[in-house]
Amino acid sequence: MKSTSETKLWRNPAAWLLGVFASFAVAAAFGFGTEAAVLPQADRIALPPGAGGMLGTDPLGRDLAARLMHGSAIAFLVGSVAAAIAVSLGTLSGVFAGLNRNAWDTALSWMAGSIAAVPTILLILLFGAALGPGLGTTCLAIGFASWVGTFRLVRAETQRLRATPWIAAAQAAGAGKTFLALRHLIPNLTPLWRVQFGLHFVAAVQVEAIIAFLGLGPIEAPSWGRILAQAPADLSAGVWWPLLFATLALAGLSWSVQSLCDGAPLPKPKSRQP
């Protein structure tokens, strides 16, 4: 008999949608549809959905469905790596600062406050300008610009957990700070950093689109942001479907991850009574 949580995930539409995007990303990672996504085809220029495949083609004749599929791989990569950087940096530094109420805490809080004073988008532009366009730049810039929020939450929660009886008991039994952090604090912070991971993932995917639009993202990669960057020229030529489907893809992934993080309400089971 399945557990309650497995049953809930199975029936959650957000989980299904996320699974669809994940499978697209895996397929793209194995090279499925790469040629259709990247190579221009002169005989298939700007075909609408239906005439040019399921989602049509762009003004260079590239298959839009294949481009969106490869874009999902980039979105997952950027979202996961940026979120992992932000959450790991924030959690480790937050636990360290929360445990050590001394000069280290002051120094880390000062550093976090200084970084937080710079608007995130400006910090990302700064990193992009220094490192040059590319996927690595995008991931690093978003991750480094975002860790401060997680740091502050984890630090506050660590300070709260320090006052709990079991931490006091562990300290009385001779547990060092490293043991406390690894065995007690970080596991107890799991719900917090799991939610933070989801939030950072969504933010990273959205920001990647903006960075690609501004010209600081990977130039040749078929990311959703690159598709949106070409939208003004496409719209002038009457080609509206790339903007529509890229927007739906971005919105769908953001909604599914956000819903799973928020604990979206499950659909009510249908009554079996006649």
């Binding site: 949106l228 927007t247 919105a251």
Partner: protein, 399 residues
């Protein structure tokens, strides 16, 4: 007074932190060679060398300081560095100057032709100029190596920090005073951002109060609508609404900035309201909801107070503090305007200028903008804390 001075000191400490961060990124090479910002990653060695001298990374640069020609039928060789030391395949050079280096080359590779333009220069300079790159020597081909003298990192970083803390903003890449550019562009960004922020807050706050006080199906529908709007990228909203209202219906100008300026601002303001609606509505709704659950409001409602009076007498006064704080904290970012809106609608404001600076590698412009925005935000954060506590003694501060 003591508290006020302490707040100012904290803000200045953070400002120094911001200046240090900018110094490390833009001058200290924390994220790679600052010369790449100036001339691009694919510039030739001479252009990179001159850029590094201009930026203060190197004190001196000389192209073609050492010329090497391998004799024919010689196996290819690999020249690399490890810190200030030159290594040829597995041989570590021990020469102090270029004259000794030339002799060491001649002893190592029979028939090789090595010429140093200035023999008294230190051999370490060749390793510095190579900058951790690997060069390959091919038989019969000439390899020309430059020479450089590095400037110490810390004085370079701290001199940039000191200039920034004295508000010496410098000049752009094309020689214009940054302070003049800021004074010229900031009003255009404010012309867009202030009405956009005002109408967004007015609309979302009113709708949030209305939905919370009515409750029921309408509130849930508005919440779902806000979630959907939030999920759609702001970039998509801007592009779609610009195309529909400006390019298709021709109700507004597509892009540009002329006198009178207000027609060019109307559509961007509307787009801002739509794109920001989701997040703002959810924020005000959550806040109003938590206040509406308070016992005093439940009691007032039970005694027959209608929704309008409830909002006017109880909710709005309690929302005054978060409204003031939110507005205060938004001010510095309003000066920046919206990077995307200015870029897409062609409004020559501060946001558009900052984006151009990032793309062209104008580090002085980036440094000045980022620093001014950050220091303004820090000072206003302290002011918001103080005002918040005066308005509502229960206010616990921002952090």
């Amino acid at each position: 007074m003591k508290g006020f001075l302490r707040s100012i000191a904290e803000a200045l400490a953070f400002a120094a932190g911001v200046a240090l961060l900018l110094g490390m990124v833009l001058d200290g090479g924390l994220l790679g060679d600052p010369a790449f910002l100036r001339v691009g990653r694919h510039a030739d060695e001479d252009a990179l060398g001159r850029a590094r001298v201009e930026l203060g990374v190197w004190k001196q640069w000389q192209g073609n300081a050492l010329s090497i020609v391998l004799p024919p039928a010689t196996p290819n060789l690999q020249l690399r560095t490890r810190g200030p030391v030159l290594i040829l395949d597995d041989h570590v050079f021990e020469a102090n100057n270029l004259e000794q280096l030339t002799k060491e080359w001649n002893a190592l590779v029979p028939g090789i032709r090595v010429h140093a333009s200035q023999p008294k220069l230190s051999a370490k300079g060749i390793a510095i100029a190579l900058a951790e790159r690997t060069q390959y020597l091919h038989a019969g081909q000439r390899l020309q190596l430059g020479w450089a003298e590095a400037a110490p990192v810390l004085p370079r970083v701290f001199s940039a920090v000191a200039r920034l803390l004295q508000f010496d903003l410098g000049k752009t890449l094309d020689g214009r005073e940054i302070s003049t550019e800021l004074a010229r562009r900031a009003p255009r960004s404010l012309a867009l951002a202030i009405p956009a922020f005002f109408f967004t807050t007015l609309f979302t706050l009113s709708l949030a109060l209305f939905s919370v006080l009515r409750a029921g199906a309408l509130e849930r529908k508005l919440a779902h609508c806000a979630a959907v709007v939030m999920a759609i990228s702001p970039l998509a909203w801007i592009l779609a609404l610009q195309h529909f209202f400006a390019n298709t219906l021709h109700w507004f100008p597509t892009h540009g900035w002329q006198s009178p300026w207000w027609p060019y601002v109307v559509l961007p303001v509307l787009v801002w309201i739509v794109a920001a609606f989701g997040g703002e509505f959810r924020f005000w709704r959550a806040l109003a909801h938590s206040l509406a659950q308070g016992q005093e409001l439940q009691s007032a409602r039970a005694r027959g107070l209608d929704s309008r009076a409830l909002a006017r007498r109880h909710l709005l006064p309690q929302l005054a503090t978060p409204l003031l704080v939110r507005t205060t904290l938004a001010l510095p970012w309003l000066v920046l305007g919206s990077l995307l809106l200015e870029r897409i609608f062609g409004i020559p404001g501060l946001g558009d200028w900052t984006t151009q600076a990032a793309l062209s590698g104008d580090r002085e412009a980036l440094r000045a903008t980022v620093f001014l925005i950050a220091i303004t935000w820090l000072l206003l954060q302290k002011a918001a804390d103080a005002w918040g506590k005066k308005l509502d003694p229960r206010w616990g501060g921002l952090l």
